[in-house]
Symmetry: C2
Subunit: 396 residues, 2 copies
């Protein structure tokens, strides 16, 4: 039990303790841990300059033993009442801080791990063909995104312009995207790096991955549809990717681990997870202008983050502290579980109805999208992930 006065059902209790980077007034950015609606100033609480930084990267690079040590020291500070007088002044109310991008991103990789999402997109983008490409159930399909445009939650999203060409158009035209979309995803932050030429085995996932955040992989579907053959998505994705400010450590997600869906066919040995159950039972919630439009269930993802890590490195590609990879859009089997407007509106054919009487196929200027999530914690509690939010600004 903590000596703080917290509601019993807080999603940011002792079982969570996510890490972020905050700034107060004109002070320098610092690493903090969220407890309830406060941020514990770690540099001060632990008297450690690792946390007097503008990103988590230095701490991430220190590895699992150190992550465990710091987590256990923070729990001690927040439970042993003898620390109350010393620690209380180091708790900053959330309302008084600005939260920054918590990680200096190395490489950003986006996967495509939801069978429902990949099938939906296949049906819409390649009508008449098999919804899943022949490789989909053999490997976690992924691609590199633009790490320099990964932005903190709250950053305004300028509507991108680019080339658009519908199949019936004689030639492409240039202009603002008319099919601006979101993708509700789960993100994984790499802590410990690896050496070039040396694959990371699936079982070593918790040695290398520090924690989990939420990702909105903004997508311009019209730009993407015209450009993506043969080398994949580029400008349709690279204008912005938003991430939530709190990195929930894997240590907080023991109760959220679930068996992933059965795989058929059985994957090649380096992708077999046996009893290493790294399915994660996060329930996402997507709100458009405050109205819930979807509740995508991450437990349905076909490929786990541990499999993604093993695949991403099986060719010898190295990892760096601060690498980020994301699940791809999380979509469950029901329409209200689809994690993109492309799917929710079925490529614009069935608009979403909003409570104000309006409808949406894709995003309009001024629209605000917020993704939140929780996962099971100990004793029936929930672990919170905070939110990733962004508002659409008009094209320039």
């Amino acid at each position: 039990m903590t000596w703080l006065d917290l509601p019993a059902d807080t999603p940011f209790g002792l079982a969570n303790l996510p890490y972020g980077v905050f700034v107060r007034d004109d002070d320098r950015p610092r690493v903090g841990v969220r407890i309830g609606d406060s941020v514990l100033d770690l540099a001060a609480a632990l008297d450690d300059p690792t946390f007097a930084r503008s990103s988590l990267n230095e701490f991430l690079a220190q590895g699992r033993a150190r992550w465990t040590e710091v987590r256990s020291r923070v729990r001690e500070l927040l439970t042993d009442a003898r620390h109350r007088d010393a620690v209380t002044p180091l708790l900053v109310p959330l309302a008084e801080v600005r939260l920054l991008l918590p990680v200096e991103i190395g490489d950003y990789v986006d996967f495509y791990a939801s069978e429902q999402h990949a099938s939906n997109v296949g049906r819409m983008f390649r009508p008449g063909a098999e919804p899943l490409t022949p490789n989909w159930k053999h490997l976690p399909i992924g691609y590199h995104g633009r790490s320099g445009t990964v932005v903190a939650s709250g950053t305004p999203i300028v509507r991108p312009s680019g080339q658009r060409k519908a199949p019936a158009d004689p030639a492409p035209t240039f202009g603002p995207s008319r099919r601006l979309d979101i993708e509700a995803e789960v993100g994984f932050v790499v802590g410990t790096g690896s050496r070039l030429g040396e694959p990371v085995a699936l079982k070593d996932f918790p040695e290398h991955v520090f924690g989990v955040c939420l990702v909105n992989d903004w997508s311009a579907r019209d730009l993407q549809a015209w450009e993506y053959v043969p080398l994949g998505p580029f400008l349709g994705k690279s204008f912005a990717t938003s991430v939530s400010p709190w990195i929930v450590p894997l240590d907080a997600l023991e109760e959220a681990r679930v068996a992933p869906p059965a795989r058929d066919p059985e994957p090649l040995p380096y992708l077999r997870d046996g009893d290493e159950h790294w399915g994660l039972d996060l329930t996402l919630e997507v709100r458009l202008n405050g109205h819930v439009v979807a509740r995508p269930p991450a437990a349905t993802l076909y490929w786990t983050a541990a499999q993604q890590l093993a695949h991403m490195t099986v060719n010898g590609a190295s990892l760096r502290p601060g690498d980020l990879y994301a699940s791809g859009t999380v979509s469950g089997p029901e329409r209200e579980q689809f994690g993109s407007l492309l799917e929710l509106s079925w490529a614009g054919e069935t608009p979403i109805e909003l409570p104000d009487g309006g409808t949406r196929t894709f995003l309009e200027d001024g629209d605000e999208v917020t993704i939140t999530a929780t996962a099971p914690g100990p004793d029936g509690t929930r672990i919170g992930f905070g939110e990733v939010t962004g508002r659409v600004d008009p094209a320039r």
Copy 2:
């Protein structure tokens, strides 16, 4: 004229002055400028800590006016004989230094700008279809690569393993790539960054791009063929990308600028280059175990680096100092101008003959590939780019 004793036809004379990062003995890395077969220690020569760094990034971020100022100061030091006594001790023989990766890479983007290469690949990968996809002549196709595995010239390349599946195979198998290849490319290093949401116009190319290097984009064709639909190349490329140690500043390439090929159809306005001729007349040379196997001509590239920059940012994607983008494989119209073994051996059908009596379709363990290039300089001289080299180590 320089006071140094240099051959009149040196490709590393006063007209070139490329930048790199070197280390001598156990000293710390420093930025240097190459002149002849020496490296000028810039931190000492200019008494400026910007150059006492392990990368060019700080200098890159300072922008075009500063790049011009430093270049002109270096020329003065190397031409005015009054500086000879002070500067001579700051010239380190190349033989005494190790050259490092010159830039801390932000994002790495690989384009696909050679019409001959894209047509060749289309014929091999999608037989029976049009060689070029319908978008190819409307926009410079590109994708993000893995910046964390961009390595210095000379770094051994471990043969990657992964999933391979020929069309006739019933299922994929796992093992070392059997189709390990190279791609001879020209790389462009971004100096000045840009703001999120603000496109960089084609005419502003020289304000943002600092210089040019050589790139070997190692490729595992069997991994790539199986994985690349629908999201593009991933593990087939991400295991290693080698770059040459010297960044030749754009200022050294005035005589190398040529009109690019005529474009048909005319591109959309943001890609029109008018009189901004940023075709670059580099002639690459690819050697396999010392034997020249190709001389790809970069002047034939359909899309220029200025068009690539305008395209990459037209959706508002921002640039960072140290971003790297590459042309994609340079292939001219003749077989001996093809910049990959895939094309030179026509997917393995027509092996290359080597002087030792051996033949090659794709790379064998122990093979060493070296790419060099020169471009026209003033008064009939040539500008040198040095080399990017790598040897294939067996799979682990």
